[in-house]
Every structure is written in C-alpha cells, then in structure tokens.
C-alpha cells in the first residue's frame, strides 16, 4: 500500500517537496529525512506542496516545527502550498498560519522567494 511518499523538485534555488498520501507518526521520518538532506546541502529555501496529501496528524505537523528555526536562521524558510481544506483546518486549529506562510499555489511561493532574494530587498 502506497502510504506516503515525497519527491523533491528544484525550481531555481528553491527546493519543492511534494507530499503524497498519509502523513502520520509512521511516515513522518520520510519527511524528516527530506529536510535533513536539504539542510545538509545548504538548501534552505523550501516549498512544501500538499496537493496530493490526503491526511496529516500532529506527528506530521511536528516535522515542520522541528526544522523551521534552523532554516530561518540560515535565511531560508518553509512555505506551504496547495493544502486541501481538511489539511488546512488542522494547521489552522493549532495556530500554524501565524508561523508559516501558506499559499494557494506553488508558483506564488516560489515567486515570493525570488522577490525577496533580489538585490536591495530584505
């Protein structure tokens, strides 16, 4: 049974992690490995695309908290995109929209990185 899988696509210097399936305490280590691999490669501009994600539990949400500070300390970010309503509601219940930028589409999140990495901007 294909429970959970991820794929990483590079868009310029932005790394997009695509999530698919069920993200729970059993499958969360797969995503943790993706983050540690990207951090090891000094890739800190990360977009996570939830388009194919059917389910998330708090163990999945915890993965985003585990790496965010390190990534932001390296001038990067984790931006979240393409969440279905059900998944967004779980993030919302726990107050995550205060800490993470959530976009409707992957393109918007990638553009946001490109805008803010321009010379003279913050």
């Amino acid at each position: 049974m294909a429970e959970f899988s991820t794929s990483i696509v590079n868009k310029g210097d932005v790394s997009v992690i695509n999530l698919s399936g069920y993200l729970d305490a059993h499958t969360a280590p797969t995503l943790e490995n993706n983050f540690t691999d990207l951090i090891d490669q000094n890739k800190f501009k990360i977009v996570v695309n939830f388009n194919e994600l059917a389910y998330i539990s708090s163990a999945g949400l915890g993965v985003f908290m585990a790496y965010i500070e390190n990534i932001r300390n390296n001038n990067g970010d984790i931006k979240l995109t393409n969440m279905n309503e059900k998944v967004f509601n779980i993030f919302d219940l726990l107050g995550f929209p205060l800490l993470y930028e959530i976009f409707k589409t992957e393109e918007e999140a990638v553009i946001k990185y490109n805008e803010s990495s321009g010379v003279g901007s913050k």
Binding site: M1, E3, Y22, D24, A25, H26, Y55, S57, S58, A59, L61, G62, M65, A66, Y67, I68, E69, N70, K86, I90, L93, L94, G95, F96, L98, L99
Partner: protein
C-alpha cells in the same frame, strides 16, 4: 428478546486489537473509517474521529509503551442513538493528562520540539476526552462525540 438485545448490542460494538507499532496506525484509521461509514456518519465527523483516535494511539505507542513494539492496544467502538464512544486501552506506563500543557507554538518554535498537539486536537475535535488509569494494570482513553447520522 434477550437474544435480540444481544444481537443488537453486538452490532453496535466493534473491537480491534493491534500491537503498539506506528505501522498499525493506518489499520486503526481504516477500522474507524469503515465502521463509522457503515453507520452513516458524516464525512467530517469520520475524519475528526479518525484523527482523534490516531492521536490517542500515537501517544500510547510513543509514551505509554515508549516505542516498545509488542504492547497491546485494544480499541472498542460503540454506537448508540446519539453518540459514538471509543475506548482505547493499553497496559503501558500511566501518565497524568493534566501534566500536558496546551500547545504553545512560540515555545515549540524556540525549542524545535512539539508536545501536546495530539491531545489538543483530540479535545478540540471530540466532545469529551477522559483518561482512566489503574497504574501497573491499564490505561483507558475514552473519546466520545455526538453524531449526525445521514439519512439512508
């Protein structure tokens, strides 16, 4: 009459017994989803109940059994006319649910660690969450929720 009652009872109670392994979480969610769908619960109710039971079982696997893979988790599902009652029993370490604070995202942000998110979700998504423990014997989590049964 008594036989009929028993039959009715039987129909409204289901049980699943699994080992304390995270790989069984999908089995647990399928069990909840199948039984609740058969009763005609709304999709939203099913999803909220499924997530709450996942959170309760994840806590049992990680904390009560401290990731020991051969503990037993017994999940009982009972429907009556207005609510669903789920009882989850383990023989792991007893903890005090009052010692788990509500989640503080700013603190998690600083520490890179989360805790209590699952319990907060359970309390938010279910109508009632109760913990009953006899230390050294068993722990019980009781989850209940009023249900809106769709017309069949």
């Amino acid at each position: 009459m008594r036989v009929a009652e028993l039959a009715a009872n039987k129909k409204n109670i289901s049980e699943l017994i699994v080992k304390s392994r995270t790989e069984n979480l999908s089995l647990i969610r399928d069990f909840i989803s199948n039984k609740a769908s058969a009763k005609g619960l709304s999709k939203e109710d099913i999803e909220n109940i499924m997530l709450s039971v996942d959170e309760a079982c994840t806590n049992i696997i990680k904390h009560a059994y401290d990731s020991y893979p051969d503990g037993e988790i017994v999940i009982n599902l009972e429907f009556n006319s207005e609510k669903i009652l789920i009882t989850i029993i383990d023989q792991g370490i007893t903890f005090n649910p009052d010692s788990v604070p509500d989640p503080d995202l700013q603190k998690y942000y600083r520490n890179g660690r989360v805790g209590g998110l699952g319990m907060y979700l359970m309390k938010t998504l279910m109508d009632d969450v109760k913990y009953i423990s006899v230390p050294g014997e068993y722990n019980k989590v009781l989850l209940s929720k009023k249900i809106n049964v769709a017309h069949k």
